[in-house]
């Protein structure tokens, strides 16, 4: 296994310790619940925004805790939603007079943990709002009752409710806002390679040298279908078509375009993909107003990418432009 690991059981805690050590002034780490929270949270003037999810998607979500983004993240083990207790205790620790907002990527495990956690926290008097993120167009909603997955598009939901909450928005408004952003966000991903969970030590699935997997999620589960490896342009064109035609995005729309790396793909390739996606959208008369290129929601060390489109309006743009400060930073 070509990974930096000590005891695989300690992989997540050791990563979280590193995040805390690198951000002593702004972040606090509570080992009992894999909890990374803002050092200055909770505040009664601000709704506390909490995300769970499994680990292995970094920087999502433990590295995007901070001013203007999440107030806390309590991930589970690699690819496992957090235990219900983490959700409950985190929610109680982050309790604010303005309430607590649960951001949940739409997976059975995450939903169950947050359902149970919410029930019990509410029983203890915490006011809770919930937003489900399900931006992945690869999942055919109709066929499977579990519904679409929440993937890289969750960044836009987090960024917008994070900014609005800093401006003092109430819980109900944040829920409406988050649902609105989620409703105009579409993502589709693909993999060039599988990924290797530290505890497993080998790839989750095998992919031939000349194969790729279209429509993957972010947990190393296989995707829609396996195909012959194609050129960068062919891949981008399919991903853009799948996302753009889903909402659908139309001529004249302003959009945010995100090229997200799944963990093992260098940023040089992501920018190459961006250039093609930008041209494709331009060809459709779709106007890219904001760009995001890099790793936002990964699947461990998987080589691959996802394309996310968000329909923009001025309000949303100003929320995306609002200042934010997270562990995932350059300077």
């Amino acid at each position: 296994m070509k990974k930096f690991v000590n005891d695989p059981k300690e992989f997540v805690p050791e990563m979280l310790q590193g995040i805390a050590a690198a951000n002593p002034d702004t972040l606090k780490y509570v080992p009992e619940y894999n909890l990374i929270m803002r050092a200055d949270a909770p505040s009664d003037d601000k709704v506390s925004i909490v995300q769970g999810s499994g680990s292995g998607h970094e920087p999502a979500h433990v590295m995007i805790v901070g001013r203007g983004m999440l107030d806390a993240a309590c991930p589970g083990d690699v690819f496992a939603a957090p235990p219900m207790d983490y959700v409950l205790e985190t929610t109680k620790l982050l309790n604010s007079a303005k309430g607590v907002l649960h951001l949940i990527n739409n997976y059975s495990g995450d939903r169950m943990a947050f359902d149970m956690g919410r029930e019990m926290a509410e029983a203890e008097g915490v006011t809770i709002g919930t937003i489900l993120v399900d931006d992945d167009v690869a999942v055919k909603d109709s066929t499977y009752t579990v519904g679409r997955r929440g993937v890289a598009g969750n960044f836009f939901v987090i960024k917008s409710v994070g900014a609005a909450s800093e401006q003092g928005a109430d819980l109900d408004d944040l829920v409406k806002l988050g649902e609105r952003v989620n409703s105009v966000t579409r993502t589709m991903g693909m993999a060039l390679t599988s990924c290797t969970p530290p505890a497993k030590g080998s790839p989750l699935f095998e992919l031939g040298d000349d194969e790729m997997e279209m429509g993957v999620g972010i947990h190393g589960e296989p995707g829609r279908r396996r195909e012959k490896l194609a050129s960068a342009n062919e891949i981008v064109d399919e991903l853009v078509e799948a996302t753009a035609s889903d909402l659908p995005f139309q001529k004249g729309d302003d959009v945010a375009l995100m090229i997200n790396g799944l963990g093992g793909t260098p940023i040089s390739e992501l920018y190459l993909l961006y250039g093609r996606a930008y041209d494709q959208l331009k060809g459709r008369g779709i106007n890219v107003r904001k760009s995001y290129v890099g790793e936002y929601c990964t699947s461990l060390d998987m080589a691959g990418c996802s394309v996310t489109l968000v329909k923009l309006d001025d309000d949303l743009v100003s929320l995306l432009d609002a200042p934010a400060e997270v562990a995932n930073r350059i300077f």
Partner: protein
């Protein structure tokens, strides 16, 4: 008669816990095929605590004991399995509240309560290609045997063979719940990890269960 003493309940829980820990890799491999490979890791991390804290659990009555187990599980196991297995133990605990031993029908009631808990929590049912597809038929078989007067050991043996058969049968099914559901048709041909786990656990129980009952 196939009822269960407190010792029997303890034996059952301990056996389940040991099976989960010993099969961490195997259960993980099963979940990796069309899932995300964390099932074995999640179960082992929770049930190893059940074993390490074994002597400390409150044993006022069977219900209290089972709820304590459920609390350990929801406290440490993540993914889908934490809520699913945690709810199962909590509901079983509620069904056996105050009791210090169980008649055979109480054993069955308790297991039915656990199954109902799983279905509500998982918004799932038979045919979704989950552990339910092995668990519910196994409990049906257990009930039949017990009402027919078989010994606990024989009843468990019957339940185990049904569980195994049904677990194997998940191969032909298309997943409608859980991570595997995203792969749709591609989930056909693969075993459901949870169903196999249930089968392995029943088999172990049938082995360890004493002739003279427990």
């Amino acid at each position: 008669m196939g009822g269960s003493s407190f010792e029997g309940v303890e034996l059952a829980v301990k056996t389940i816990a040991e099976t989960a820990v010993e099969n961490e890799t195997y259960f993980g491999e099963l979940d990796a095929v069309v899932g995300d490979g964390d099932f074995g890791f999640s179960m082992a991390r929770g049930f190893e605590i059940v074993i390490s804290d074994w002597d400390g659990f409150d044993r006022a009555d069977i219900g209290t004991f089972l709820k304590k187990i459920g609390v350990v599980i929801t406290g440490r196991i993540g993914g889908t399995s934490g809520p699913i297995w945690g709810t199962a133990f909590l509901r079983a605990g509620t069904a056996s509240a105050g009791k210090t031993e169980l008649t055979s029908s109480e054993v069955v009631e308790m297991l039915r309560a656990a199954i109902e808990g799983i279905k509500t929590r998982g918004q799932s049912d038979l045919g979704d290609k989950t552990l339910l597809d092995a668990l519910e038929p196994a409990v049906d078989a257990l009930e039949q045997e017990l009402t027919a007067g078989s010994s606990g050991r024989d009843a468990l043996a019957a339940a185990a063979s049904i569980a195994r058969e049904k677990a194997e049968a998940t191969k032909a099914m298309i997943a409608k719940k859980g991570r595997a559901a995203y792969t749709g048709e591609r989930s056909i041909g693969t075993l459901d990890a949870g169903a196999v786990a249930v089968a392995v656990m029943f088999e172990r129980l049938a082995e360890v269960w004493p002739e003279e009952g427990a």
